[in-house]
Amino acid sequence: MNENRRQILEMLASGKITTDEAERLIAALEPEQVATAGVFTGNIAGSNHWSGDDKDTPVRTHAKYLRVLVESTEKNGPTTVNVRVPMQLLRAGVRLASLIPAQAHDQLDATLSKHGVPLTLSQIKPENLEELIDHLDDLSVDVDAKEEKAKVRVFCE
């Protein structure tokens, strides 16, 4: 049960919202939960539980997993790939970059530029990568290649 739905049920149990309002809230969350993190604005009469000081401030729940779904039909038969990676793993993985010694940065930069990758590792900070991962919540990629009979979906949930 995700966090949004749990909060709705807690509000219903404590009497802050009616059953009709709870039902509308849950229905509003349903189509958003597949592709993106939930965003809810606290505009329910009598309820200020969502947004704290400002009722109209959207409360954003961060996605927990990065999903990659691949379906393809090859000559021998269908192939499916279903990968779910926790976002925490991505965050922990980018911290590996901070372990690279400073002396190695110059060598890596030179090697990358030699291979045509214009990337300067010393300018990439872990906080920049953290911000990038935080914005992955909005990522949604749908590829439907009819000729190759392949579908690719990448999204966060």
Partner: protein, 86 residues
């Protein structure tokens, strides 16, 4: 929190492995016994690589704890691989 159970399943035309439920929490016991040796090796590697030892430990611990929820399934017409970390 560290992962507790790993579920593995591999099927291919020439090899079939039943679904294995591996209790990863039982690995803590031998790891604790070997921890002085493991930490010494990591310390030596960090000194040789000019890497901060505590940052390295924290990073790898973070990766280990973040493995929970990893789910990989690959299915083809004649084979199947599934890895789940719980």
């Amino acid at each position: 929190m560290t992962p507790n159970i790993a579920v593995l399943e591999i099927e291919s035309p020439h090899f079939h492995m039943p679904r294995l439920w591996l209790p990863l929490f039982l690995l803590w016991i031998p790891l604790l016994l070997l921890s002085p040796l493991i930490l010494f090796v990591i310390l030596a590697a960090c000194i040789a690589g000019c890497i901060n030892f505590w940052r390295a430990i924290a990073t790898f611990w973070g990766i280990l704890c973040a493995l929970r929820g990893l789910n990989i399934r690959v299915t083809t017409h004649d084979s199947k691989v599934m890895v789940r970390i719980l």
